[in-house]
Amino acid sequence: MSFVEYAEFIQEGDVAIIFMGHDSMFPVKVQQGAQTQTRYGVIRHSTDLIGRRFGSKVTCSKGGWVYVLHPTPELWTLNLPHRTQILYTTDIANITMMLELKPGSVVCESGTGSGSLSHAILRTIAPSGHLYTVEFHQQRAEKAIEEFREHKVDHLVTVLNQDVCKDGFGVMGVADAVFLDIPSPWEAIGHAKSAIKKQGGRLCSFSPCIEQVQRTCAALAEQGFGEICTLEVLLRVYDVRSVSLALPDFGPEDTLQTGLHVPGEEGTPAAPGANATVTCRTAMPPREMAGHTGYLTFATKSLV
């Protein structure tokens, strides 16, 4: 198992995702002899996980069962230990495409945070790209190094423990893309510019506040970046379910023409009189949803 290469079978040392139901999953480190306690009972790694196929159903000691999944950056984003606020898949997807990341890309990122975006970047730039990720918090930087090693992506990444606004990315003229998720991105635009390849590259800054965006855009324009563009993306998840709707009773009709013609494919024939209902399959938006994550500002540095 690696975060950049699929494996068929679960092995000692792997990270596996235990899936218990929608929105309920957690990662485990697979170790010979280890046990994991769940609501449905114990999972014994040696017998229940090692050597089994990813995607298998595993029966726990109390008779309940779970699925064991191969980790992906997207599942990791949902399960990783939060050391900071993290970027979620909706934003990550747009960042990846708008930064034009692909295998072989060299990327600079700051801050590393909990490594949610880092894993997604590494997946996309493997097998020949490289990520330079800068984190000013020492423990977070160390933890990130450890995780990258466990996830077998450490050969693709360099973690630097320094302040990007003061010290930059530690590299010059190598990056195809730079990503900034820091409180004052405008202070790092100069460093970002010098980290980008001479022939040019892309930049993205993620900021929750519009004031940050304004200062960043001003700094980008001043440093000669082009194609400056700010956008916001939100995810609207739908809950698929059947709903039943009551039919009104207008009292008995005079003519032979009885029974309303009820639209809807799963419509149960309307029983005449009271308590008649029709059910239909629909998709409902949640009562509450994330209404804001951050603004994404993109720009291009070109030589010309």
Binding site: V4, E5, Y6, E8, M20, G21, H22, S24, F26, V28, Q31, Q35, T36, Q37, T38, R39, R53, G55, S56, K57, Y67, L69, H70, T72, E74, T89, A93, T96, M97, E100, K102, P103, G104, A120, T124, P127, K197, K198, Q199, G200, V213, Q214, A218, G226, T230, L231, E232, V233, L234, L235, R236, Y238, V240, R281, T282, A283, T300, S302, L303, V304
Partner: protein, 458 residues
């Protein structure tokens, strides 16, 4: 400017003859290929791309008379029109249509004199009686508007998913099933497209989705394009201008042979007959018929026969090649261990998804795009009944652009009303012990409320 070969600049960043490029002006994009002495239409203008050769990608060119391009001096933008005087509000500005002293003809004359866009804008400002009364912001807006109208420039870009997805969405959304670029971005990420995997793509989006997947695979691994009808559509993918080795990772398989493949009937199939061959545009017309009209005997006839034989042989070889390719694609599908599945089509997604899921390995992501929500509701329901997939999610994304200017930051006035719907999920093994049966599977995903779990490693 053509001395770019020095100091560590990638040769890939220099525009070469034969390159696939994208022309850009404002928010308008158009794909083209660099060919010498070849007229290209962009925004109702004829132009020749000859002079872009040797320049860097990202260069902006002025369109000179006769449609030739000249690289714009980089300093040009900064020396933009300086403004000294400005009003405080618009109380004294009356829209009587008389504020501009230059007439339509005057402007045409200026153009004929060979004045550049920038200079024409300057003339317009000087001849506007109300310009100095406008507020600073209004002046900026005026200049921006006039520049857009009179500045005759085009930027040449290297194609990428970002650019082509925006181009298709802006120009011909119908051709890509109204797939908005942020939805495409979600698909690539949700399907975990990456180098070295085996991905099945079924799309009727002009080949854009296929190209996007191939870009993310970087020529490593394999892509199997499932196609409906006579042959795979790839125009969008070809606009990416991928290097040759990318094409070697691309396979295609006709949807109409999926049942044969699943039933193990494919290998016994007789070699395909002519009629099944898709009419490919690059194929020559089968026979040189006009030969028959030449009334010459003997040698001529022999030659004709020989030629016909050669043609037949050639066709046979082609057929054999085609068959080999089909079998190669079948060999990739047969082990049923694909790592990803991406669907974006005008077909009903339900049968497509249920049919193609059979070729996937367990614990792998899939994603289906549909312009409409209801077919995906049906997909969701069927999958829940049938099992074999978990982590199902029906969603759409909402995209909004912003104008960011000092003291004038706000959302852009127009936004896209919808970018389509996505159903994503993860495959799992259906254990042979308990075959999939209808209602019992309702309980497959226990209600989240009931679960409280602790993890203890020791």
């Amino acid at each position: 400017m053509a001395n770019n070969m020095d100091d560590g600049i990638d040769a890939q960043c220099i525009i070469k003859e034969g390159d696939c490029v994208v022309m850009k002006r404002g928010d308008i994009f158009k794909a083209a290929q660099i060919q010498k002495k070849r007229k290209v239409i962009f925004e109702k203008q004829w132009l020749f791309l000859d002079n872009t050769i040797g320049e860097l990608y990202g260069t902006t060119f002025e369109i000179a008379s006769g449609g030739t391009l000249q690289p714009r001096k980089p300093k040009h933008t900064e020396s933009s029109t300086e403004v000294k005087k400005a009003g405080t509000d618009n109380r004294n500005i009356v829209d009587d249509g008389r504020s501009q002293k230059l007439t339509r003809d005057d402007i045409e004359t200026l153009k004929e004199q060979g004045l550049k866009g920038q200079e024409i804008v300057q003339q317009l400002i000087e001849n506007s009686t109300t310009f100095t009364d406008k507020t600073e912001f209004a002046q900026e807006k005026y200049i921006k508007k006039k520049k857009k109208k009179y500045e005759n420039t085009v930027m040449i870009l290297k194609p990428s998913t970002r650019i082509l997805a925006q181009m298709y969405h802006g120009r011909e959304p119908g051709k890509i099933c109204y797939l908005r670029y942020d939805s495409l971005a979600q698909m690539l990420t949700l399907a975990n497209i990456h180098a070295g995997s085996k991905v099945i793509v079924f799309e009727t989006c002009a080949g854009l989705v296929l190209g996007a997947v191939m870009e993310r695979m970087g020529g490593h691994g394999s892509v199997i394009q499932m196609y409906p009808g006579g042959g795979p559509v790839r125009a969008g993918m070809e606009s990416f201008g991928f290097p040759e080795h990318f094409h070697q990772t691309l396979h295609d398989f006709p949807l109409c042979k999926v049942q044969d493949l699943l039933g193990g009937r494919l290998s016994q199939d007789a070699p395909e007959t002519d009629e099944a061959a898709p009419p490919k545009p690059e194929q020559q017309s089968p026979e040189a018929e006009n030969m028959d009209t030449v009334p010459e005997a003997g040698r001529e006839t022999e030659e004709r026969d020989k030629r016909r034989e050669d043609k037949a042989q050639e066709r046979k070889t082609k057929m054999e090649e085609k068959r080999k390719k089909l079998l190669a694609a079948a060999a990739l599908l047969e082990p049923r261990n694909a790592d990803g599945l991406v669907i974006a089509s005008r077909f009903h997604p339900c049968p497509v998804l249920l049919g193609l899921l059979k070729f996937m390995a367990p614990s792998r992501p899939f994603v289906v795009y549909c312009q409409y929500r209801e077919p995906l509701i049906e997909c969701y329901t069927k999958l829940r009944e049938q099992g074999g997939a978990i982590n199902l999610r029906l969603a759409e994304t909402w995209l909004r652009h912003y104008q960011v200017l000092p003291n004038r930051t706000h959302p852009v006035l127009l936004m896209s009303g919808g970018g389509g719907y996505l159903l994503s999920g993860t495959t799992v093994l259906t254990s042979p012990a308990q075959p999939a049966t209808g209602p019992a599977h309702r309980a497959e995903e226990p209600s989240p409320k009931r679960i409280k779990l602790q993890e203890t490693d020791d």
